[in-house]
Symmetry: C2
Subunit: 599 residues, 2 copies
């Protein structure tokens, strides 16, 4: 009976909310929100990815967007039963706009709207051909000189980029470019993906050989084809590479390998890009309307300009270029940095009998993988979650429904639990001299990822090597590279045959600077981060990831990517934005923020 009551209550709120919107009565609609409300919209109202916070911002958004959006049909999603816990009623909902069908999640406090997530599912008249609407494949009936599927595919591959211009050009064929390419293919948007490597998946294959994903399989599915039940929890890099390669093939993506974009410029009048591509040695000029940079969320490798680097006589490279440990048996290796890659690389070198020293220059957040999976991710992304009916798609929406402004409040208690559970481990690490942190406000790994994309290690074993002194640890700044090693500020001279700079990456708009020009990079500004006013994520508060998956200050320029979760989830909304533009629908992005930081 309680369930019925919850359903009735939510239905009543939805009906009243829908009625107020129907009437254009913004005051009444806004009055239905709590004072501390959040409305996160993924493209359905704002043609943007945007969270409005508090009744005043809700009102401002509705004033600008209500009439054009034309929302209606607010109702509980079929087959879903609202729940109540700690005074919060939560329900999956459906709605429509003039142009699209939407899905969302609503949370009520005392029958007022506390959080609202509205997402666009599909554009009316432009639905994906799937399920009952999937293509026939075979061509029934008979017709003279029909082409086979293979002949059509070959003709399409031949024409695209030569006699037919792609509507979208995606630069970068990692999981971001591939997931977006698949969505665009399903929406019938002519797209080329340009990738510098030989094969899809090489961006994973080429990394250090011990690398496995740090995120578990339930978090990593691509759209349309899920990993099988037999897939490992943490994909080895070559295995995920093979999966991406097969996915690219069976999803019929136009994917140019051994290709690099060498320059791009936008014609504001013609509203199209001119992009020069070196396609395996041949120069091809493309004229897409939309240019998506999916070149890696972390931007370009960053190597600090330590004095004396050119005098070093051994091997030195950025972590992204590290080939693995095989050539360094018995050698002295210095790994500068103390985040994920630094730990993985140091441990693999140790496994191959290298003498490894890690140089920790700043504090690092460490969580043990098992603990993170169980306490941090298990509720949404785990076998238990799947068995409780939380599919990956649902988990994505639940995660998306928690406003960034208060996400840390949900995270802090989890990390307190993790700290408690692994107290002995952390004490041992500190005793070994390791400089720990838990994020600025104790909110841990996800917030660090969202705010700055760095500053942590998900421990799968290297921490024990540090605790045991198997990997030597040095804390402090590097003052100089000398011909036989690394000098630290305390005068320590670390002799080295190999130096690995696990020193992170620049901002993603650095790719735009290289490809298009510094002026455009500056115009769009820094990518990623929330404006949380914490280290490496300066304020003011943005409320969303800067520039990602949404309109930027440069028309026709988009940034896409992130981990597999983000590549999967946000590709949906980016694809819909691009499709709507191709179809000439009235797209009016609302609330595109000012640029506060250049990179």
């Amino acid at each position: 009976m309680l369930d019925t009551t919850n359903a009735d209550r939510v239905s009543a709120v939805l009906a009243a909310f829908g009625d107020a919107l129907d009437q254009g009565d913004i005051d009444r609609a806004v009055g239905m929100f709590t004072e501390d409300c959040y409305w996160r919209d993924l493209v359905s109202f704002t043609w943007n990815i945007r969270t409005v916070e508090g009744p005043q911002e809700v009102a401002a958004m509705l004033r600008d967007r209500l009439a054009a959006t034309g929302p209606k049909g607010w109702t509980l999603a079929e087959g879903e039963i609202p729940t109540e816990e700690d005074g919060i009623t939560t329900a999956w909902i459906r709605f429509e706009t003039g142009l699209a069908r939407g899905y969302g999640l609503i949370r009520l406090k005392d029958d007022r709207i506390w959080t609202l997530l509205t997402t666009m599912v599909e554009l009316k008249g432009h639905e994906e051909p799937k399920g009952i609407h999937r293509p026939l494949g075979a061509k029934h009936g008979a017709g003279k000189d029909r082409l086979s599927w293979k002949e059509e595919r070959e003709a399409e591959e031949q024409a695209l980029g030569r006699t037919v211009q792609p509507y979208v050009l995606i630069v970068g064929g990692g999981q971001g470019g591939i997931a977006l390419g698949a969505r665009l293919r399903m929406l019938g948007v002519p797209t080329i993906i340009v990738e510098k490597n030989d094969r899809p998946g090489d961006s994973w294959r080429k990394r250090y050989k011990s690398l496995c994903l740090h995120d578990p399989v339930w978090y990593d599915h691509l759209p349309y084809i899920k990993f099988p039940d037999t897939w490992p929890v943490f994909s080895p890099k070559d295995k995920i590479g093979d999966w991406l390669e097969m996915y690219t093939k069976v999803m019929e993506l136009t994917y140019w390998t051994r290709s690099t974009c060498t320059s791009a410029s936008y014609d504001e009048t013609a509203k199209e890009w001119t992009v020069t591509v070196d396609r395996d040695g041949e120069e091809v000029v493309l004229r897409p309307r939309q240019l998506v940079l999916a070149t890696g969320m972390s931007g370009k490798p960053n190597i600090p300009d330590f004095p004396g680097r050119d005098t070093f006589r051994g091997d030195q490279h950025h972590s992204s270029q590290h080939p693995g440990p095989d050539a360094y048996r018995g050698k002295s290796c210095v790994v500068i940095g103390s985040n994920n890659s630094a730990h993985d690389i140091a441990a693999a070198l140790w496994e191959h009998d290298a003498k490894v020293t890690m140089v920790q220059r700043s504090s690092t957040h460490i969580v043990r993988s098992d603990t993170l999976m169980e306490i941090g991710l298990g509720g949404l992304y785990s076998e238990q979650a799947v068995q409780a009916g939380i599919t990956t798609e649902k988990a994505d929406l639940i995660f998306a429904s928690i406003p960034y402004a208060i996400l840390h409040e949900f995270q802090i208690p989890l990390y307190e639990q993790m700290h408690e559970r692994d107290r002995g481990f952390y004490e041992a690490l500190e005793k070994a001299g390791f400089w720990l942190d838990w994020g600025e406000d104790g909110s841990g790994l996800f917030m660090k990822y969202l705010r700055r994309g760095s500053g942590y290690y998900i421990d799968i074993g290297a921490s024990q090597l540090i605790i045991d002194g198997e990997i030597a640890l040095k804390r402090g700044q590097v003052t100089e590279i000398v011909e036989d090693g690394v000098m630290l500020e305390d005068g320590t001279h670390l002799k080295a045959d190999l130096i690995v700079y696990a020193t992170g990456y620049g901002s993603m708009n650095g790719w735009a600077a290289d490809l298009i020009g510094q002026d455009v990079a500056d115009k769009v500004g820094k990518c990623w981060g929330l404006g949380s006013d914490t280290p490496k994520d300066p304020g003011p508060w943005e409320g969303e990831q800067r520039n990602m998956w949404k309109p930027t200050r440069q028309e026709g320029l988009w940034f896409h990517g992130g981990n597999l979760h983000q590549s999967r989830h946000y590709s949906q909304f980016l694809a819909l934005q691009l499709k709507a533009r191709m179809e000439g629908l009235p797209v009016e992005p609302w609330g595109v923020p000012e640029v506060h930081h250049l990179g």
Copy 2:
């Protein structure tokens, strides 16, 4: 309340049945069956694929197998609600044996068992590593000189067939070999698949270019990885080829391309095969314990020995060798045969402006694809079925639960419906001179497929070309091939630049004759067919497909394959039989039939 009653009633029957079996009281157990009962067992009781018919056969099977099987725990399957319709109560059930966990479907008439399907799901202690038991992938902790996933895979590929013998050798890498290979991989059975073509999927790619699967996507899923929702209903041949290729790769199968088995012999003492393989030019000798022929359900291409074939001056080939229509524009083409391939090839030639004559030598069963999908398959394999909760796995079991002996009774009314729906179409075909049939007893396509594997065309357009006279039709026997064409018994001289022999295939044990010897082929006898005493399926009644997926009269020799449905479904039971043998479990096949026909 009705549901509760059904559940209670079935539970009571299961409890009583379980109790009788527990007590070893075979008479009491048999007394619970109806007089017209059928018990189909897939490996769980009989280590065989076997239907026992009537109480006496049930009793005979139980007398031999009850004690060794040790069944227990008969209960309704979780989450499934028994249904009642037309006096038949149907329920999904679970049970265990001493060695395995089982799943099944039971149908009651007046609370007595009318049909019982028992299938083996997994061997205790040898479960597939999936879901909660999936591998970790990453190697947590640290250890000296650990290999990466890629290094381990490469080492395994290097060793298997050289320093490590495969337990199973699968000859033929089409969907049959691939699906079985995947199951065996998941069960940890060292297996090599040998395939003559260059790439997995080539057995489809190399066929005539207009070919698409005649079965729809819901019927075609492979184990573990389903086609995405966006996959076409009828897969074009090159697209299914690409899928098979990627599947082979991501499922990590050891798959030797450009390889042919040239001879095989079995050592009855050592219980192992000696198989010589031409591996891309290199001779490799393998010593597997089990040899699986998955070389194509239809056996070797059959070309009737028409006199004068060597005098023909044009192109002539079997339908399996037909390259497609491109080279025959404007040419006179004679297609001998009137089944699926004959129609597809004739239509594609017509589309490329060839002059096509089809020679119909015997009557043919024709159903229109749309009609077949809707009336024949829709209940089990369709988007509607999926939405009604009938997954492909469930559909397979429902289909498997209907005893072959009475399957035709279920089929006849469906084909009467189809005939009625398309009456005008059939009239037009007959008017055009086409010689129609509906199977010996009017039971249509599936029964023809199961009985003889031939004799039908699923119409996707060629019939209209025949009705319209665009494809010329000649009825009668071929008497001779002459240098410029084909002579028929009525004296007709069909001039031809191309003759396509769409004249079917031999029995699958022909492969065994070629590879192992005629003695072994004769020892195992004919493959496929039910013994229905209808054309091309001589009696006596077998009750199951001859020799397929189950023990043969030659120890260590197995036949596997069929369409994608059969390759998927029966690979489960064949894989479990092979795994049990590898683990040395007490496997005692019961009821392996006598051989009545040589091929």
